[in-house]
C-alpha cells in the first residue's frame, strides 16, 4: 500500500530467503529446530497426530526442499517475466511446508493431506489452463488411488500408523492390488514415461515455476510416498519388477526426449523425467536409499536443468534449441557454469548410485551423452550470428550453481580427493563426446513436426480411454434411458392408461344402453353377492 509493488515483492522474497536460510541452519544443527506434534481431530473417533519431528530420514530432505525452494524464490525475485511474484513465493513456501510435513509423516493422514495440499498448491502455481487440466486429471487420479490404498490399509490395519505396515502387511488381503495402485500413484506423480502428459503441457510456464514443479513439488512427493510406504512394495511380487521397468522407461524416454526435443522447456521436462527415472532406478537397484545423497542429486539435477533457462535468457527468451545459434560461444562464463552444473550432476549421481557400479556407469554414460549433446547444440551452431543478452542479472542467476559446487566440494572433500583421477577421466571423456558430437544427426529431428508437436501419449489416452468412455456413456443413455425406460416402460404404462380411458369414455357416452348396462351390472353385483354371502 505504501511502497511500490516491485519493492514489496523484493522485501517479501528476501524475507523468505532469510527465513529459509535460518531454517536450513537450524536443520543443520546450528540452531535448535522447533520440533512439535499436535493432535488433530479432523475425523471423528480418529485423532491424528500431526508430527514435525525431524528424524534423520527427513532432515536432509527438509534441507534439500528448503534449498530448492529458496533457489526458486531467488530466481523469481530476479525474474522479469513473473508478474505475481508475491503469490508465487507464498505458494512456494506453503508447498515446501507441506513437503516437509509429508517427510515428517508418521501416519497416513498426515501424508495424504500433505500430498493433497501440495497438489492444490501446484495447481495454483500452474497458470495455464491446459496444463492445469492435465495436471489435475492425473494427480486427481493419483491422489484418489493413494486415498484408496490408505483406506484399504486402514480398514485392515485398524490404525493409521505408517510404522504398522512392516509388522502387519504380510497378513493383508489384496496385496497385489495395493502395491500396483501405489506404484501407479507414484508414477503419475513422478511423471515417468507414459504418465508424463501433465508435465508436457507445462512447457509454457516460465522456467522458475516449471523447475519448481518438476523438482520440488509433485514428483518429489511421489518419491517421498515411495520412501515412506516402501514396505508396501514388499508385499507384492510384481512391485519391484514394475518399478524397474518404469524406471528404465523413464530413463530411456526422458533421455531420448531431452535429445530430440527442440523446445527448451519441453527439454527441461524430459530431463526431469530422466532424472526421476534415475532416482527410481536407484530406489529399485540400490541396496539402501541414502537420503542425503538423493537430495544432493536432486539439487544438482535442478541446477543442471536451469542451464536451459540460462540459454533462453541469453537469447532474449528464445525457446527453440535450434534457434540458439551457438549461444555459448560468446558467453564463456555461462558455458563454465554449465560445465560446472554438468559435473555437479555427474558427481551427485555417482555419490548417490556409487554402490552399484553398473547402474552408476549406465547413468553416467547416458547423462554424458545427453548433457554433451545439449551443450554442444548450444555451443556449436551452423550460424553463430545471434546476439547475446549477457548482463549482470544473468550472472546473478548462475550464483546458486557456484554455491552448490562450493558446498559439494566442502562437504565431500575427502571423497572427491579419493576419486579425482576418475573425475578427471570422466571429464575428458565428456569433452571428447562434446567436441565429437556423435549424436549430431539427432539435431535434424528438431525440424520434425511429428516429434516436436505431436503428443503421442495424449493421443493414445484420448483414443483408447476417453473416446470409448464417452461413446459408452452416450450409448448407455440411449439404450437405458431412451430405449428401455422411455420407449418401453413409460410407453407401456401410458398405453395402458390410454386404453383404460378410451374404454371408460366409450362406456360413458350418452347412450341409454350404457346406462342400462350400468344398472344391470349393479343388479348383478347385488345378486352375485347374495349368492356368495347368503346362498353359499
Amino acid at each position: 500500500m505504501f511502497m511500490p509493488r516491485q519493492r514489496l515483492s523484493l522485501i517479501w522474497g528476501c524475507f523468505i530467503l532469510v527465513s529459509g536460510a535460518f531454517s536450513v541452519a537450524s536443520l543443520a544443527g546450528v540452531y535448535p529446530f522447533p520440533e512439535f506434534s499436535v493432535i488433530w481431530n479432523a475425523v471423528p473417533n480418529l485423532p491424528v497426530i500431526i508430527s514435525f519431528h525431524l528424524k534423520n530420514i527427513s532432515r536432509f530432505g527438509a534441507i534439500g526442499v528448503i534449498m530448492l525452494s529458496m533457489t526458486v524464490v531467488y530466481y523469481t525475485i530476479l525474474s522479469s517475466d513473473e508478474f505475481t511474484k508475491n503469490k508465487l513465493n507464498g505458494l512456494i513456501v506453503l508447498s515446501s511446508v507441506m513437503v516437509i510435513s509429508a517427510l515428517c509423516a508418521v501416519n497416513y493422514v498426515q501424508l495424504l493431506v500433505a500430498v493433497g495440499v501440495v497438489d492444490v498448491i501446484v495447481y495454483s502455481i500452474i497458470n495455464l489452463p491446459e496444463a492445469k487440466r492435465q495436471y489435475i486429471y492425473g494427480n486427481f487420479l493419483a491422489d484418489f488411488m493413494l486415498l484408496c490404498i490408505l483406506a484399504l490399509i486402514f480398514g485392515q490395519q485398524g490404525n493409521i500408523n505408517i510404522a504398522g505396515i512392516e509388522e502387519q502387511s504380510q497378513v493383508w488381503r489384496h496385496r497385489d492390488c495395493i502395491a500396483i495402485m501405489l506404484l501407479a500413484c507414484i508414477f503419475i506423480k513422478n511423471g515417468t514415461a507414459f504418465f508424463h502428459t501433465a508435465y508436457q503441457k507445462m512447457s509454457e510456464l516460465n522456467f522458475a515455476r516449471l523447475n519448481f514443479i518438476l523438482f520440488a513439488a509433485t514428483p518429489l512427493m511421489g518419491l517421498i510416498i515411495l520412501q515412506l510406504l516402501k514396505n508396501i512394495l514388499m508385499i507384492s511380487q510384481y512391485s519391484y519388477p514394475l518399478l524397474k521397468i518404469f524406471a528404465v522407461a523413464g530413463i530411456v524416454w526422458g533421455g531420448l526426449g531431452a535429445l530430440v526435443v527442440d523446445n527448451l522447456k519441453r527439454k527441461s521436462v524430459y530431463l526431469s523425467m530422466f532424472f526421476w527415472g534415475l532416482s527410481l532406478s536407484g530406489f529399485a537397484w540400490l541396496p539402501s536409499f541414502s537420503n542425503r545423497r538423493f537430495y544432493l542429486f536432486l539439487i544438482a539435477a535442478f541446477l543442471f536443468n536451469n542451464i536451459l533457462m540460462f540459454f533462453s535468457k541469453l537469447r532474449n527468451d528464445e525457446l527453440k534449441m535450434s534457434r540458439l545459434c551457438g549461444v555459448l560461444q560468446s558467453a564463456k562464463l555461462t558455458f563454465g557454469i554449465c560445465i560446472i552444473s554438468t559435473i555437479l550432476y555427474a558427481l551427485a549421481w555417482s555419490l548417490f548410485a556409487g554402490r552399484n557400479l553398473w547402474l552408476t556407469s549406465v547413468g553416467l554414460t547416458a547423462f554424458s551423452f545427453i548433457s554433451a549433446q545439449i551443450l554442444s547444440d548450444a555451443f556449436f551452431a551452423n550460424n553463430a550470428t545471434g546476439k547475446n543478452n549477457q548482463n549482470i542479472r544473468l550472472f546473478m542467476l548462475e550464483i546458486p550453481v557456484l554455491i552448490a559446487l562450493v558446498t559439494l566440494i566442502i562437504y565431500n572433500k575427502q571423497q572427491l580427493l579419493n576419486v579425482w583421477p576418475y573425475i578427471a577421466g570422466c571429464v575428458m571423456v565428456w569433452f571428447a563426446i562434446f567436441i565429437s558430437r556423435p549424436l549430431q544427426k539427432i539435431s535434424g529431428l528438431y525440424c520434425s513436426d511429428f516429434i516436436q508437436k505431436r503428443d503421442v501419449i495424449s493421443d493414445i489416452y484420448n483414443f483408447c480411454v476417453l473416446v470409448p468412455i464417452q461413446v459408452l456413456g452416450r450409448g448407455l443413455r440411449l439404450i437405458v434411458d431412451f430405449m428401455f425406460i422411455e420407449k418401453t416402460v413409460i410407453a407401456s404404462i401410458k398405453s395402458a392408461i390410454r386404453i383404460m380411458i378410451i374404454i371408460f369414455r366409450r362406456m360413458h357416452n350418452d347412450n341409454a344402453w350404457n346406462y342400462v348396462l350400468f344398472l344391470l351390472t349393479g343388479i348383478i353385483i347385488i345378486a352375485a353377492s347374495y349368492y356368495n354371502g347368503v346362498v353359499k
Partner: protein, 469 residues
C-alpha cells in the same frame, strides 16, 4: 308427549320457510335474487338453532334425534347455508331468479332432516325420494336440461323401486320400524327371500342416490352440465344425508344381513374408486373431474365403513368430512374463476390463472393436496383414519388398491395444477367477490389448523358418532 313434538320444530321452520318463499314469489313482483336468499338464510338459521337446541328430543319411535343425527344435521345446515350464500353471487351476477334454487334447497334440507332422524323406512323413503325427485327441478334452472333428462327417467325408476322395496317389506314383515325389522331378520329361520329382495331394492336405491359406481352415470352427467350452484350443491351437501341414513339403516335395521351387504358395499366401493380415478383422469371439464373424484372419495368411504365397526364409522366419517371440506373449497374457488361474467368450466379456460389470481389458485392447490391426503393438511387425517381402519380389518389388498387408484386420480389433479400454475394465461379473469375470499379463508384455516391438534375435535366427533349403535 306434546313437549316431544318440539323435536319437529326445525322441520316446521323449514316448512314455513318454504311457504314464505312461495308466497313472496307469488305476491312480490320486484323480488331480486337476494330476496329469496334472505328468507332462506333466516329460516335456515332458525332451524339450525332449534336443531342444536333440541338435539335429544324424539317424537315417538319413528323420529329419533340424538348426537349422531344432530351432528349430521348440523353439517347439512352449515354446508347448505354457506353454499346458499356463495350461490347468491351466481344469481346476482347472472341476474336470474334464485327462487327455484333456494326453494328446492330448503325443501331438500327438510327432506334430509326427516330422513336423517327417521327410525322408520317410510320416513326414510319420504325424505330421500322427494328430495331426489326435487333435484330434477334444480337441474332445469338456466335451461340446461342435459343432466335433467338422465336424472328424470332414472329418479322415477329409483323412487318406484324404493317404494316397491318398502311395500314388499311391509307386506311380509308388517312393520317398517328399524328395530322391528332388525329383530325379524335376526331370526335366521324367519328370513324369506322377499325380505332380502326388498332390502336389495332399498340398498340399491340408496346407492343410486349416492351415485356409487356402477350407478354413477347420472351423477357425472348432472354435475358436468348443471349450473355452478347446483353442481356444487349436489357434490357437497347430500352426501352427508345419504351417509348418515346408510349407516343408520345398516346398523339398526339390516344388520343381520351384513354378511351379504358387506360384499355388496365393498364391490360397489371398489368400482367407485376405480371409475372415479379413471373418470377424473379422462376428463377435461373441471366439474366432471371433481365429480368423478367425488366418486372416488365416496368409494373409499364405503369400503372403510364396512364392516360396521365403530372404528370404521369414525374413519369413514372423518374421510367424508375432509373430502367435503376440500370439495367445498374447490367449488368456492370455481366461483372466483370467472371471465367476462362466465364461470370457467374447462381446463383450457383456467390456464395460467395463478398469475392473476394467486390466492385463489393457492387455495385450489391446498384443497387438491388435501384431497390427496398429503400432510400437513387435513386430508392426511382422513387418509390416516382410512388406512388405519383397513389395517385393523387386515384389508391389505384394499389399501393397495385404494392407493393405486389414488395415483391415477393424482394424474387428474396434476393436470389441473399444471393448467393453473405452469401454463401461460390466455384469459383475463374478473374481479373476485370478497365473500368468496372470506369463505376460502375460513376453509383454508380449517384445513391448515385443525390438523395441528385434531385430538379434541376427533374425540368429540367419535363420541357423537358411536351413538348410532
Amino acid at each position: 308427549m306434546l313437549v316431544n313434538y318440539i323435536a319437529l320444530l326445525p322441520e316446521l321452520v323449514l316448512f314455513l320457510g318454504l311457504i314464505t318463499m312461495g308466497l313472496v314469489r307469488i305476491f312480490r313482483h320486484t323480488s331480486t335474487p337476494k330476496t329469496f336468499y334472505i328468507i332462506y338464510r333466516l329460516f335456515l338459521l332458525i332451524s339450525a338453532a332449534s336443531t342444536v337446541l333440541f338435539y335429544n328430543q324424539n317424537v315417538g319411535e319413528y323420529f329419533y334425534n340424538n348426537s349422531y343425527t344432530t351432528l349430521f344435521k348440523f353439517l347439512l345446515y352449515s354446508m347448505t347455508f354457506i353454499w346458499g350464500y356463495l350461490s347468491l353471487k351466481y344469481f346476482v351476477s347472472k341476474n336470474i331468479s334464485s327462487f327455484v334454487f333456494y326453494e328446492i334447497v330448503l325443501f331438500n334440507l327438510l327432506c334430509f332432516s326427516i330422513a336423517v332422524s327417521a327410525h322408520n323406512l317410510l320416513f326414510l323413503f319420504i325424505g330421500l325420494s322427494f328430495q331426489f325427485l326435487a333435484n330434477n327441478i334444480l337441474l332445469r334452472i338456466d335451461a340446461r336440461k342435459a343432466g335433467a333428462k338422465v336424472l328424470g327417467v332414472f329418479s322415477l325408476l329409483v323412487v318406484m323401486t324404493f317404494a316397491a322395496g318398502i311395500a314388499i317389506l311391509y307386506f311380509y314383515a308388517k312393520t317398517l320400524d328399524y328395530g322391528a325389522i332388525e329383530r325379524i331378520m335376526g331370526i335366521r329361520s324367519q328370513i324369506i327371500w322377499q325380505y332380502q329382495f326388498s332390502v336389495a331394492c332399498i340398498i340399491a336405491c340408496l346407492l343410486f342416490m349416492m351415485g356409487v359406481a356402477p350407478f354413477h352415470f347420472w351423477f357425472s352427467c348432472v354435475v358436468g352440465n348443471s349450473i355452478l350452484p347446483v353442481s356444487g350443491y349436489l357434490t357437497i351437501v347430500p352426501i352427508f344425508a345419504y351417509f348418515s341414513c346408510l349407516v343408520n339403516i345398516c346398523i339398526n335395521a339390516f344388520y343381520p344381513l351384513m354378511d351379504w351387504l358387506n360384499q355388496v358395499f365393498i364391490i360397489f366401493g371398489v368400482l367407485s374408486i376405480f371409475f372415479g380415478a379413471i373418470g377424473a383422469t379422462s376428463e377435461s371439464n373441471l366439474r366432471k373431474i371433481f365429480g368423478y373424484s367425488s366418486l372416488y372419495f365416496i368409494g373409499v368411504s364405503i369400503i372403510t365403513l364396512f364392516p360396521l365397526s365403530d372404528q370404521g364409522v369414525v374413519a369413514s366419517f372423518t374421510y367424508l368430512l375432509v373430502y367435503v371440506l376440500a370439495m367445498y373449497g374447490i367449488y368456492t374457488v370455481f366461483y372466483g374463476y370467472r371471465c367476462k361474467g362466465e364461470y370457467m368450466k374447462e381446463l383450457s379456460d383456467i390456464k395460467g390463472v395463478a398469475t392473476q389470481r394467486p390466492f385463489l389458485s393457492a387455495a385450489l392447490l391446498i384443497f387438491m393436496i388435501s384431497l390427496i391426503g398429503t400432510p400437513p393438511l387435513l386430508g392426511f387425517l382422513g387418509k390416516l383414519a382410512v388406512v388405519n381402519s383397513l389395517l385393523i380389518g387386515q384389508h391389505f389388498a384394499l389399501i393397495g388398491f385404494e392407493l393405486f387408484a389414488m395415483l391415477i386420480l393424482v394424474c387428474a389433479y396434476l393436470k389441473v395444477i399444471t393448467a393453473v400454475y405452469f401454463e401461460s394465461r390466455n384469459n383475463m379473469f374478473d374481479v373476485v367477490d370478497r365473500g368468496v375470499y372470506i369463505c376460502l379463508l375460513i376453509n383454508v384455516i380449517l384445513i391448515l389448523v385443525v390438523i395441528i391438534n385434531p385430538k379434541y375435535l376427533m374425540h368429540d366427533v367419535e363420541m357423537m358418532l358411536v351413538e348410532v349403535f
